[in-house]
Assembly symmetry: C2
Homo-oligomer: 345 residues x 2
């Protein structure tokens, strides 16, 4: 691409979700040269209020956000390829990138990008989400890119990258479980370099709804620092015979133990967090017992949340996880390579 003396970019990559937009300006080999974090998630776009039924109005919001995210980068280097993952490709997004069905090979994902011709002339390539039809229907959008970022690169780039056959074989033999804690926690199984199965737990969003919109929030106060003992207490309840009544039942103990003086107002938020994450990981354990254990577990997400899940997994007899960072930007890069938008030098 461009070959000036200053570090020049070869790709713009966007992680564009419901509530925020992260933009990366990437150089050769996927090195991140610049990062921007904007509040323009697809549910809160900038610009004049989009209260009309005109689709052009909604598109204008996307155009505005896009321009703020990377307009100057594109003006400096016209023709840079742009790739995006996340809810921007949903029915409520800018353009729909149809779901790809499991099992999914990263090379397939990279070959199925949707495109939008933006007002300023750039073409936005949108990564499809994944759809699981076996069992209960399940969907993801954005997380597939994080998972690709975590997977061994051989699975993505195939032989093109010139990696040793031994590395390819190691990837092919790997049986990996990727945990992506957050609003909707995804647990994604990767076998032989393909995404084969996943589960969604609405733990983060349920926590927020319970805290903000049920009686449980009324007696809670924010602790000065995360209360690990209270979190642990919640985990233990969820994992013991006391947790047999399930999460709809145990959560009420947050209030009841407050009323009886057994749990302070400041301990209640982390106790509830421990209950929810405990029930989630307990159920995950039951699912893995039926499906077989992975050879390793990797967590990726908010640091404090990952710390909580990392302490929950061994509590339920699961392997201690390793932590992965920069999964979205690595996945965006790898899928751009796989799609032929950029070439490894």
């Amino acid at each position: 691409m461009n070959a000036d003396a200053t570090p020049s970019a070869v790709l713009i990559a966007l992680d564009w979700g419901t509530s925020s937009l992260r933009a990366y300006r990437m150089g050769a080999d996927g090195v991140v040269l610049d990062t921007r974090h904007l509040p323009w998630g697809i549910m809160r776009l900038p610009g004049p209020p989009t209260d009309g039924p005109m689709p052009t109005t909604a598109a204008a919001g996307f155009e505005l956000a896009f321009d703020q995210a990377c307009g100057d980068w594109l003006r400096a280097q016209p023709g840079l390829p742009v790739i995006a993952c996340g809810m921007v490709g949903s029915a409520q997004g800018w353009a729909q990138a149809p779901y790809l069905e499991l099992p999914a090979d990263p090379r397939d994902i990279g070959s199925r990008l949707a495109t939008v011709d933006t007002h300023r002339g750039a073409t936005l390539h949108i990564i499809p989400g994944l759809l699981q039809r076996q069992g209960l229907a399940n969907v993801m959008r954005g997380e597939e890119t994080q998972v690709v970022g975590i997977m061994g690169s051989a699975a993505v780039e195939g032989m093109a990258g010139g990696r040793a056959a031994a590395e390819d074989e190691a990837d092919a033999a790997d049986d990996l479980l990727v945990g992506l804690p957050g609003t909707h926690c995804k647990w994604v199984r990767v076998r032989g370099g393909r995404i084969v199965e996943f589960d969604t737990f609405m733990t983060g969003e349920v926590y927020a709804a319970l805290r903000g919109h049920t009686i449980l929030g009324r007696t809670m106060e924010d602790p000065a620092a995360p209360d690990d003992a209270a979190f642990q207490r919640g985990l233990e309840v969820a994992g013991s015979a006391l947790g047999r009544g399930g999460v709809l039942s145990t959560i009420f103990s947050t209030r009841a133990m407050g009323l009886t003086g057994q749990l302070s107002a400041q301990a209640q938020p982390d106790y509830l967090s421990g209950l929810l994450i405990g029930h989630e990981v307990g159920a995950l354990r039951a699912l893995l017992d039926a499906r077989g254990m992975p050879s390793r577990i990797v967590l990726c997400g908010d640091e404090d949340l990952c710390r909580r899940y990392a302490s929950a997994l061994p509590h339920f007899g699961l392997a201690a996880p390793t932590l992965a960072g920069q999964a979205a930007e690595r996945g965006l890069w790898r899928l751009a390579v796989s799609a032929g938008l950029v070439r490894r030098p």
Copy 2:
């Protein structure tokens, strides 16, 4: 008490909860002569906005609601005893009626009423809630009165009622599970005429929070009539191997199945209801497997909700329940008798 020719009352009974207030004017033998339903729950009392820190302001709200509920009844028959159950006896209520610990005999409950001297001279007697310390702490306020209303009267009124010894023995041998579906569904075990154990499931409130304050509500539309097939589908998922991931996981299928065209927008509310009630009753089944089955199950509450639970119980291998009505007013009457506020003629 009064002995005019017109049917005269012997008791005023109030079922005073968080969101509403029901008032009953009762004649001899607990016959309900008049009923009023007011929106003055303890969290939304009438009168000038209670935005000051003065406790007298809050009390004024209770006085106003009380006067609207039964002021005229008391003016017509001064000196009528008044009994109340529910959140009016909580820390956020008019006066705190301390919790009574399990196991609880209705005669004990009737002997532990708290009192408030109202502005107009009447004394309000408030029924205590119940507290369970064994296992996870649990509390109820108001439901104990409904349970007493459902229990055999022998347990409440003892020998005073002049009932046959055989009836007393039948009550003493009874092993009853009372289900009270609603915002917080309580499952209350009654053995030998005493309340011995209970569980709380926040199913109703969680349903409302999920529908009103998570992504699940976004794709939902109200059905023209309850969609029993969708409800049944939710029950079946919760009770099958597909439900093994637990409620935090299965609820996401409401959205995912909507996105894949497997579940219409109008079917989603009842499908979610089936999932939640299914997970609740499945957990109840697990608890009963550990504790032993009751000899019978009684449901009391909103008609449509009871219908849903009645179809869920057999789905999880539990006995078909019988339905009970007027539980609160019967319980209020029986506890007033037990407390000596009224006498059976």
